[in-house]
């Protein structure tokens, strides 16, 4: 099926939810409201004509100062059977940075959503194990947000300070007979 037709089908089924459909370089992305994302994903997965069985990727985007709602969660879907793809973008505001987890549909999204939480602080409701994944548990701040400095925060991470302290103590250690 043509990708634009898929977007039309989503629009037909969920007329209230689709905000915008864009095409660039042959790839179609549909911007959605976040409230019924799980329902839309389940529809895309279960409908035999669409059958998006393979979720390529989920990632967050920080649109600081560019859009009214600060965050976007981007889903790349692909159907191995029909060989078509679509990109879904769900808008998430900063005040209530949360969205439903799509883990009931694709179980492999587990770590993608954890990473998105790790990097942007977006909470995935219904996720069974939402912890930081790439960064340490006690890390402060969300690194991929646009207001996070590239060189890292001024305050060093507590775990690193412990290592430095240990190294210093070992350097000063003197052998006694």
């Amino acid at each position: 099926m043509e990708t634009l037709q898929i977007a039309e089908k989503i629009k037909e089924r969920f007329p209230e939810e689709v905000l915008d459909v864009k095409e660039f370089r042959g790839q179609v992305s549909a911007t959605l409201k976040k409230d019924r994302i799980l329902e839309i994903c389940r529809y895309l997965h279960d409908e035999p004509e669409l059958y998006f069985d393979y979720l390529i990727d989920v990632c967050g985007v920080d649109c600081l100062g560019k859009k009214e709602k600060r965050f976007e969660v981007v889903y790349h879907l692909y159907s191995i059977k029909h060989r078509h793809a679509i990109r879904l973008k769900a808008e998430v505001e900063e005040k209530d940075a949360s969205i439903d987890s799509v883990m009931p549909v694709w179980v492999g999204v587990n770590w993608h959503e954890r990473e998105c939480f790790d990097m942007y602080g977006i909470i995935f409701k219904g996720h069974p194990d939402l912890r930081r994944i790439l960064l340490p548990e006690d890390w402060e701040g969300y690194p991929l947000r646009k207001d996070y400095p590239v060189m890292g925060p001024e305050k060093e991470w507590s775990g690193f300070l412990t290592v430095l302290d240990k190294a210093k103590r070992f350097r000063e250690f003197e052998w006694h007979e």
């Binding site: 370089r25 979720l55 990632c59 981007v74 790349h76 770590w111 790439l134 991929l144």
Partner: protein
């Protein structure tokens, strides 16, 4: 044994596998809850190699972020470069010339061979066979020498460029490569004699870490890990890039989705890679190796040294970056580990607004608990080897 009325009192044991463990292929840490020899629960911890590649990429121009992709999957950096430049070219709306496409296909398949050789060597080494490792590494050395001949670097190559490749390949290189290609199938036969029908190897891998086709797709597995379960999804066939639509090759698939099938698939993939390189060398067209679109590609070095206009042109492209149309592009390529995707959002400046790396190793590491739970501790090692992860790519 009948004398014992009460069985031994047993309790669950928690052990830590990694991050410093030779069988984890990097810095992967697994916390295993064991009941005797059986794994009850397996929790992977990743992130020890996190360098913030995505954040760094957002703060560099499209040209300057290319070397970052080398450092993802550091044993097949050529494939990562090819994936990166293909995604950027799609965003720019340019196309590399035919000769460059063929060269990229050749080097990508060479890199696939060298990566699979490492996988074969270490995977069988983990399970107990030392000999194939030593022999396989010797062949990899030859491939790395060829890379050195081509671009001066062995591992972090950065050879493909946006719009083509860095330099043309020499006849000497082609001759040496062709010699290697003719010889390699015999070497493969040697390894297969040692492993494929080996009784111990089969005992350790058949029926271990089984995952069905449907489940594998639902988990988002790609590459050899998915094809071992019997799904013929391969980006090179489904959405051909570079010269893959101009060469003939087969996609080997497994049946049972266990460690053994994944092994058979990858070994066959090496033979197919060999076949692709051979065809590419034979069909290699003549012509330029860099696209002629001055807005997006760097001028050649000798022109920069001779001519003022070209110098200015290079200076502006390097410092400001090209002016890119606003939009977003996702492009997946088949790397030895699976599907490596780059997702760019452009806001019209010379730097990507968002650069996302879809790393296959990240997903494959997440499936470890599913494969390992309920099995034996020794099978965890087989499972780590069979999903073929590189932690540099997993942690980005």
């Amino acid at each position: 044994m009948e004398d014992i009325e009460k069985p031994f009192e047993t309790r669950e044991l928690t052990i830590n596998l990694g991050p410093q463990h030779p069988a984890t292929h990097g810095v992967l840490r697994l916390v295993l809850n064991l009941d005797g020899e059986t794994v009850v629960k397996c929790t992977p911890y990743v992130g020890y190699l996190h360098r913030g590649v995505e954040k760094l990429g957002e703060n560099r121009t499209y040209f300057a972020a290319l070397p970052l992709s080398d450092r993802l999957d550091y044993i097949s950096s050529m494939n990562n470069n090819v994936g990166y430049v293909n995604a950027v070219e799609k965003l720019f709306g340019i196309e590399a010339p035919e000769r460059a496409k063929f060269i990229r296909t050749i080097v990508a398949e060479m890199s696939r061979l060298s990566s699979h050789i490492i996988w074969l060597g270490t995977h069988v080494l983990d399970i107990g066979a030392t000999t194939p490792f030593l022999h396989a590494m010797a062949q990899r050395e030859r491939l790395l020498d060829l890379f050195e001949m081509l671009c001066g670097a062995r591992l972090t190559v950065s050879y493909p460029r946006v719009g083509g490749v860095r330099n043309d390949i020499s006849q000497e290189f082609l001759d040496k490569l062709y010699e290697f290609i003719l010889e390699f199938p015999d070497r493969m036969d040697d390894y297969e004699t040692l492993v494929t029908e080996n009784r111990i190897w089969k005992d350790r891998t058949v029926g271990v870490g089984v995952i069905s086709a449907e489940e594998a797709v639902n988990w988002g597995l790609t590459g050899g890990t998915l094809r071992g379960s019997g799904v013929d999804y391969d980006v090179r066939k489904y959405a051909p890039y570079d010269a893959y639509d101009k060469v003939e090759f087969d996609i080997p698939i497994g049946k049972n989705g266990d460690c053994y099938d994944r092994y058979v698939v990858r070994v066959e993939e090496m033979r197919q890679a060999n076949r692709i390189i051979k065809q590419c060398i034979e069909k290699l067209p003549a012509g330029p190796v860099m696209a002629d679109s001055p807005k997006f590609t760097l001028p050649s070095k000798d022109m920069v040294l001779k001519d003022m206009e070209h110098l200015i042109h290079q200076f502006i492209l390097i410092t400001k970056g090209p002016t890119v149309p606003e939009g977003e592009v996702y492009m997946g390529t088949e790397v030895p580990k699976g599907e490596l995707g780059f997702y760019f959002i452009s806001d019209g400046t010379g730097r990507p607004y968002r650069m996302r790396v879809r790393a296959p190793s990240f997903i494959h590491a997440s499936v470890l608990p599913r494969l390992s739970e309920g099995g034996l501790v020794a099978d965890v090692i087989a499972n780590i080897g069979t999903i073929d992860i590189v932690l540099g790519e997993c942690d980005r």
